[in-house]
């Protein structure tokens, strides 16, 4: 932004307003960041601006699994080493990062970009279910792993998908729902405890 803009206060106010719209940034944080950038060298501001622009210009969704990518296919779909007989269904791209971090899963993914939420008016047509079903048609996939969230919306989505996929003769599994690591049993809710009992395993 040019240094000799007369309405400097206007430019400051505008940037504060823009930052304020970001998740997790309140009016005070927005002010702090704006005044920091005002004092910082223009190189830094330039880098930030370019990073934001390239995010919107270069990043798109993978044509197969709808993960974020800068090419037609995301890094997972491009990788020959991945097990193509398994697809793991997640609600959002961030979930893939969490699963990849564990390193236990080597199959492919499918990002729904949401979950069925009747009260918010999000139905089956609003998330990428149709694309998933098209992808499964005639594919070598033998197992679909439902890794939607364990809240009501995620459960509904999982139930709905299993109703659609099971008739295709593909094995449908759901991530185990039980006690999270590092918690105390006494605070567990009924649903979690019930699941934990159903899914109990023998210690060898």
């Amino acid at each position: 932004m040019s240094q000799n803009t007369i309405a400097t206060a206007g430019a400051v106010a505008r940037l504060i307003q823009e930052f304020n719209r970001l998740p997790g940034i309140g009016p005070k944080s927005a002010q702090r960041i704006t005044y920091y950038l005002l004092r910082a060298n223009s190189e830094q501001a330039q880098q930030l601006a370019e990073a934001i622009l390239s995010l919107k210009q270069q990043i798109k969704l993978c044509t197969v699994c709808f993960n974020v990518t800068d090419a037609d296919l995301c890094t997972v779909c491009r990788n020959d080493q991945r097990d193509r007989s398994k697809i793991c269904i997640v609600e959002q791209p961030q979930d893939i990062l969490a699963i990849e971090h564990t390193g236990v899963y080597h199959g492919l993914y499918h990002v729904l970009h949401g979950a069925i939420s009747p009260t918010e008016g999000i139905g089956t047509g609003d998330i990428r279910i149709r694309e998933l079903m098209a992808r499964l048609q005639g594919s070598p996939v033998t197992e679909v792993i439902l890794a939607t969230n364990t809240n009501l919306e995620g459960e509904q989505t999982a139930l709905y998908l299993s109703g659609l996929i099971t008739p295709l003769g593909i094995r449908v599994t759901r991530l185990a729902r039980g006690l999270p690591f590092g918690t105390e049993l006494e605070y567990a809710d009924d649903m979690t405890l019930t699941r934990a009992f159903e899914g109990r395993q023998q210690l060898d």
């Binding site: 998740p23 997790g24 069925i116 009747p118 009260t119 918010e120 008016g121 139905g123 089956t124 809240n151 009501l152 459960e155 509904q156 139930l159 709905y160 109703g163 999270p180 590092g182 918690t183 105390e184 605070y187 567990a188 809710d189 009924d190 649903m191 979690t192 019930t194």
Partner: protein, 275 residues
């Protein structure tokens, strides 16, 4: 407000919206404070002790601390988690429809214990009863009674004469029935069969034990549903969002096994049976 700083109440969680990184704003329906909103901090973190007790469609004992604006949830303990609702797609769709209607029809901070009881009973019925549509219709009519929109089903809303047992008309704008002679007074009045009117009256006036003995043909059930849905939509001046989901699930069910009767209502020979 004369509420103490910290208080505890029974509540059914009817709505939730995300707030910030790990918090939620919950809408709770309580027996003595009516509908209230409260912030539940940290419930979107996996290790939250409260999260499981504050999921949608859960009946919990909730501790809260009064705040400047919204109350903050400080603890919660499940009373009934309605497990069947959460493991069955159709049941949970019905339950979400019920809670959305409660949310839409109630103002905040207005005590309505009978409505709380109705909501609780309806969720329990949805867990057990196989006639989910009847549970919904009964809930809708009773909700209208309690919310002050009880439709006039006994006499014509225009000429106030008792209705003859012929095909009369229902008008959402008139708030009830119109006889054939008066139907012209409202531009939108839909014909309603004698049996459908009988069903509506029964749902409006009897207890659930009586209403649950009602048997309807698929056609009659659909007629009753259309009339009530139309009336609710007119009152709310918008679509009930979860109704669309309910419909799409039902369509799919019908596509999968075309032989089953619509809506799960047991087919009866003709019209309403004796109740």
């Amino acid at each position: 407000m004369s509420q103490p700083r910290n208080y505890q109440t029974e509540a059914i969680i009817i709505k939730k919206t995300k707030l910030g990184e790990a918090d939620r704003i919950l809408t709770l329906y309580t027996p003595h404070m009516g509908k209230i909103q409260a912030v539940a901090k940290g419930v979107r973190r996996p290790k939250s002790k409260m999260a499981g007790h504050l999921e949608l469609l859960t009946h919990s004992l909730v501790s809260m601390a009064r705040g400047r604006n919204l109350a903050t949830v400080t603890g919660s303990q499940t009373i009934n988690s309605f497990l069947p609702l959460k493991t069955d797609l159709a049941r949970s769709a019905c339950a979400l429809y019920v809670t959305e209607l409660v949310d839409q029809f109630t103002p905040e901070h207005t005590e309505d214990t009978p409505l709380f009881q109705l909501l609780l009973a309806s969720l329990e019925r949805l867990c057990q009863d196989n006639n989910k549509d009847l549970v919904l219709r009964y809930f809708e009519l009773q909700l209208l009674n309690k919310a002050g929109y009880r439709p006039q089903l006994q006499e014509c809303t225009a000429c106030h004469r008792p209705l003859e047992p012929v095909s009369n008309f229902f008008s959402a704008g008139a708030g009830g029935m119109l006889c054939p002679g008066c139907r012209e007074q409202q531009s939108f009045a839909y014909p309603i069969s004698v049996n459908a009117l009988k069903v509506l009256r029964l749902l409006q006036n009897s207890d659930y034990a009586t209403a649950s003995r009602l048997r309807m043909t698929a056609l009659l059930a659909a007629e009753v549903e259309d009339i009530v849905r139309g009336y609710l939509k007119y009152l709310l001046e918008r679509e009930v969002k979860s109704a669309a989901w309910l419909d799409s699930l039902r369509q799919q069910l019908r596509r999968d096994n075309p032989s089953s009767s619509q809506g799960g209502t047991a087919p009866a020979p003709q019209g309403t049976a004796q109740t």
